[in-house]
Amino acid sequence: MAYKIIEKRQLVPDVHLMNIQAPDVAAAAKAGQFIILRIDEAGERIPLTIADYNADEGSVTIIFQEMGKTTKQLAKMSAGEELLDFVGPLGKESEIEKLGTVVLVGGGVGIAPIYPQAKEYRAAGNKVISIIGARNKDMLILEAEMIAASDEVLVATDDGSKGHHGFVTDLVKQLLDGEEHIDRIVAIGPPIMMRAVADVTGPYDVETLVSLNPIMVDGTGMCGGCRVNVGGEVKFACVDGPEFNAKDVDFNLLMSRLSFYRKEEADAITKSQKGCGDDCKCQ
């Protein structure tokens, strides 16, 4: 079975959106879940969050940032081409219910997984306040979509080129100190951002959820490579998560495990840029 790329566009430099033909996945997908794809026979299996899905059209949207070998290779593909594998939906769906006011925090490419949650929280009858952030205004994705899906959108950029000059956490703190009662905060982005949000909300009595992104292989609970420490217990993010209570997460462990293959990843990039053949031993 191959999975056709129906649409592909660049959102901002290094971040791309793809619509993939995968009717069975689209029919089962829920906010908070992810897929694992493999481009070709020699490819790695990489996890990406489901950023949107359309059961009628049988399509699933992914939004990814160019990080290393696989995402760069994916970025070079265009509509009409096919992916070899597209497994999903994986992970537990977000528990979306009517709570009152929900704050959704998305950092960088983390805005993509926040987007379907915004739609579903609002559909469930919540007031949705979204805080989205990026390095600068040219790196901000899905702003229009987030505005359409939320009751209120606050923007933060590291360089102040748009919205608040500073981090999303500053805006989270302002909201927490404000008048409005907040029933839940969901933060998705780089681990360092999620940890910062957890640090900010820690002293407040507000439920804070994060979506963890450890290195995964199968995504079905079979390898244990995705294990994370939550509240002193070992959890497999692919089946027990990816969403966990932020205050219990050991972010240092997550970040260190994410960097485990740094050398191998760098080598893979060099090798693909040099265009070495199959038997190359230049590493």
Binding site: V25, R38, V87, D218, G221, M222, E264, D279
Partner: protein, 455 residues
Amino acid sequence: MSIRPKMPQQAPEGRITNFDEVALGYTEEQAILEAERCLECKNPKCVEGCPVNIDIPGFISKIKEGDFQEAITIIKATNTLPAVCGRVCPQEEQCEKLCILGNKSEPIAIGRLERICADREREVGVKDPVVAPSTGKTVAIVGSGPAGLTAASDLAKVGHSVTIFEALHEAGGVLIYGIPEFRLPKAIVKEEVDYIRKLGADIKMDYVIGRILTLDQLTDRFDAVFLGTGAGLPKFMGIEGENLNGVYSANEFLTRVNLMKAYNNSFDTPIKRASNVIVVGGGNVAMDAARSALRLGADEVSIVYRRSDEELPARREEIEHAKEEGIVFRLLTNPVRIIEGENMSVNGVECVRMELGEPDESGRRRPEVVEGSEHIVDADIVIMAIGTSPNPIIFDGSKGLEVTPWGTIVVDEAGMSSIEGVCAGGDAVTGAATVISAMGAGKLAADTINKYLSK
């Protein structure tokens, strides 16, 4: 007293630098010579030892005549995966254990003879199967390991429309992701899977039941279901340092190596190449992980096992192969803590020595810690091969499927689960066991489903 011919194999010095098959298989002459020793017993004990009751004297008598074609036909009447079983069955515990010749000299090398018949058939080309006319009944098989493949093949042969759902991107279960190439070439597994496709079975890869469809949806859409979901959930010891970088479950390590071909430079899969590797455990899984790590270029690989050599649960042949290759066996030793080095990565393992005390419930002598025997073994990679439990994802969104507290599926003696029309078998029912027992369970379930569908 006559003994079996020696198995030709790759020399240890050479084979530790490649992933090619170690045991090369008998030549026809050797096979015929070995077959000659068989007494063709009237009441063959060997057959009782084989979980699928292959007519062993029957196929061996054909080898004596040099008729490998007829021999494989006899084998295939009861065993759909002979090329696999001939290689990985724990024969010394099964068919060969009961061979009458074993009392006085060496038992007949039944597994090796089975292997050559299957290999010869592959060389000349497997005949296309004859499939019965369609019954119009549909069966869903979850999992494409030996249990699922066997059930699929038996059900497709009698004309049912079979769909296999497999979570991974390749069919074969442990045969593909767990057992390494040097013990079971993947081309063999692929051919067996192709054969099942030729029987008309549809195999849907990348299809996780419990996520994309639930078991309840499957029972609505199909006339019957077989669950062969295996026991792939890795166990950890719960000791300090187990989440450090460089601690792998055997499943992860072997999946990266086998399914994802990390040993092959043209694949993208990353794997750590280490100088000192410690593998905890003493079963086939531990041997496979240790020997794979050695082939990836480690300087020293040791097996750490808490009982003695005698209790090692792996197949003897694999233990011998591992020893020949230079794997260090740290027996009567148990890890108590993994030591942290730079950047939260493994820097060594603190172990204690063990001694064997009184026998426990399982009849094996219980290992006890020797006081004050703490010592540190250098390591930069630790691989945990201490067992697995059933894959749990299948239970998401299934009502009424009875499971034990250990997560294994409850079935009756015919292989039927607590849901009518849903059978289960293999590691998902027994916990981690063997290829041939999973196949036996797949066969039994196919038979039960067949009866159920013709009601």
